[in-house]
Symmetry: C2
Subunit: 452 residues, 2 copies
């Protein structure tokens, strides 16, 4: 029995009817050429035969004296976590995304370990899909990506033990301990700090006002005061729409070379362009440019240890019509933010973020803070595998993150690299953002503009 | 906003990780001959187009000052309740029952209205399946059956509005009001009474001891003292196995005519024979005969009003080897129980049942009562439709109840008549009762024995 860390607790506290706090992933895999008609059935039987789960997949929540603990689930039943389903005909990607949207909308059952794994048959093109979800109190997005990679291999010959049956690597798997931080983790931690330790509030408030003063004295950097109101920033419902698409890394890099911009700059420009087109079509484009929260690695060397992930606020310049001009404005915005962090220690960065995110976090933790809009949308780029991966002989052709949206942040764009592609996963509140899937076309258009 | 009745609350209080309290139904339907390949897709679109739900399908739970209320769900989203899935290949009944077992094991999400409806494609024989579940706090089994019947028609020409979109009939649909009582309702009510109003405890206890004295003075009637311990009567886990099969009513009636027994007698004899074979194979057959709780209509005329449903305790005589001898012993046991009720008023019946069920109920409500075993298994016969039914043009070929098991009652046999068949739905804790589906073969054997 292990008490939950404040950060893990935060994800449980943040969870509401309209706001489930699990992260997910969707993979598309091409069965091997010599696969028989019972290929997925055999894979499913192999998966199901792993009836024991390792940490954290064997942990369920229990409350003792009002505090939540992780306890080992003595009645763990793989049938409650692994499901083999098929898409109804015609089995297009459309039906798959509709199913994933539904599955991702549903809360995990808190009486059981907080994860589910779906093997999905019936795609018309013969591929299979894997959708998995796990509560953010158990792992963050980066750890989930690592676990997923461990459950695959770089050659088609291997049989892959399911992720829940693999003994944990301490660093990525033990809830409550230190681990790489994703966007949500850091915000959650800040909010947790604020919500739980009222005495830290004055410090954070002081930091916040420092940030406000800095924003006033230097109009070049994006602060809490530059996020306009938009339809992206409303209360959400529990309805989700998921959309996903792959883009060639080489295409994006080529567009970057053409305009002397990094891959990240081009990605932000694609998002800025897409959001501009989408909001314009709805008649909802704010005059002031939208801003985005972008988790970014600040690592100064190539060492694997000591992740320095920070959140920068990047202006998306959705107010600028010309795509190239927009790209360059975004570039400058990103550079300004990065420069600031280069001169800060890790501790200073965390402090700064706690301050910048304070209104956002306080809204959640207490409902008491003014409803300032710190930023309009999160655009998260999770580093993914460099090589082609295989899962029980099937080549993984795509892997898309399925993230979280929260009140005030009705859209989340998360992407990961995979081999020679960049995989975009868009999740949104279906009711707040109608026809969100059109953003996929607008993202393509945003890239094409820079290639033209 | 409506407070929950004590009975409805009881179903929420009884709900635990290992004991979800929803009832379900499985229907098998044959699409019309002229159905195109997109038939189910069209039906699914039609279902989904009904985005508004009527009572009770629009009600969700809310707690105010510690008490639960039904409130209208203002964020009702049909995507959270209706799903169109397919079975993975090969799409046999086996895969269907495995899927239904999984779906029935999962708790309903208490943040949303407590029901789900699945349209399932991909059966190898071209049929479609419908599995639906609804919380017992919202409806009981009989009301659920009525609702299902209203959502079908007797001719294939009609399009059927989904059950959630039909305006309620007061009698069957308004939670908390008086309605026909199923087994669980009555027990729940008794337990609710006991748990909630401590002052009624002495009365009930007195009734119980009267019942005990009666049992001592008349060894012919089944009382709480005659239920032997058995593997059916253990603590259960949350894992479920569902098994279902149809038998011809005419076959069962013919067997009854041959032995001068009623249809119900033959059903109980089939169950007794099946349980004997099943437990014998496991080396778990108790020396003393198993007893069953059987809800039975006590209506003395054909009027539709004033249901008099009572629970009788019928001995299944699993100790007797000869099938015909066993049938006659069961007949006598049923007749004794029925005779008792014939001489009692409705109030006396409820009193008597509260007393007989007291140990059972008290175990649940308080955990304080001695762990007497009132009976070993529930065998419930719900009256079903007399004529063939159609659902959006598809002929309903089978409809099976998917009921509830609880701690101490690891198996539930519920059946309903439908046109010229009797449809058995068996639900059990998969871990307490291994290979439960073998009971289907043993039920067939139990009928064949009486035909021989």
């Amino acid at each position: 029995m292990k008490p939950l860390s404040p950060q893990d607790q935060m994800f449980l506290l943040l969870e509401r009817r309209n706001q489930p706090m699990h992260v997910g992933g969707l993979q598309l895999a091409r069965p091997p050429k010599d696969a028989g008609p019972d290929y997925t059935q055999k894979v499913a039987d192999f998966m199901r035969s792993h009836t024991k789960a390792c940490a954290p997949f064997n942990l369920r929540l229990e409350r003792k004296l009002g505090a939540p603990f992780w306890v080992e689930d003595e009645e763990f039943d793989i049938e409650s976590h692994f499901r083999h389903l098929a898409l109804p005909k015609p089995g297009r990607i459309r039906e798959l995304l509709a199913l994933v949207s539904q599955l991702h909308s549903a809360h995990l059952d808190r009486a059981k370990p907080l994860w589910e794994f779906y093997l999905i048959d019936g795609l018309e093109d013969g591929r299979i899909a894997i959708y998995s979800k796990i509560h953010h109190a158990l792992v963050d997005g980066i750890a989930a990506m690592r676990m997923m990679m461990r459950a695959t291999s770089e050659t088609p010959e291997e049989q892959n033990i399911p992720v829940w049956a693999m003994p944990p690597r301490k660093r990525e798997l033990v809830p409550g301990e230190d681990r790489p931080r994703s966007f949500i983790s850091v915000v959650g931690e800040a909010a947790g700090m604020l919500g739980q330790q009222a005495k830290t509030l004055p410090n954070v408030t002081r930091e916040l006002y420092r940030s406000i003063r800095a924003a006033r004295s230097n109009p070049d950097y994006v602060s809490v005061f530059q996020a306009p109101k938009s339809i992206l920033n409303q209360r959400i419902t529990g309805s989700r729409r998921f959309a996903a698409q792959s883009w060639s890394l080489e295409r994006i890099r080529a567009a970057g070379r053409k305009h002397d911009a990094t891959l990240n700059d081009v990605v932000l420009a694609m998002c800025g362009s897409a959001l501009r087109s989408y909001l314009k079509e709805l008649g909802e484009l704010p005059d002031k440019p939208l801003t985005s929260m972008v988790p970014m690695s600040l690592r100064r060397d190539d060492s694997d240890s000591g992740n320095q992930v920070a959140m920068i606020l990047a202006n998306l310049y959705t107010s600028i019509e010309d795509p190239v001009e927009r790209l360059h404005a975004i570039q400058r915005s990103v550079q300004t933010s990065k420069d600031r962090f280069q001169n800060m220690s890790q501790a200073e960065i965390v402090n700064y973020m706690a301050a910048t995110m304070a209104p956002f976090s306080l809204n959640y933790a207490t409902g008491a803070a003014p409803r300032w809009q710190a930023f309009n949308v999160t655009i998260s780029n999770v580093p993914g595998p460099k090589n082609k991966l295989y899962w029980n002989g099937a080549e993984l052709e795509g892997m898309y993150p399925v993230s979280i949206v929260i009140d005030g942040q009705a859209l989340n764009i998360t992407l990961n690299s995979y081999a020679d592609k960049l995989e975009f996963g868009l999740i949104a509140c279906r009711r707040t953002l109608p026809h969100m899937q059109r953003l996929l076309d607008y993202l393509e258009q945003g890239l094409a503009e820079l290639e033209a």
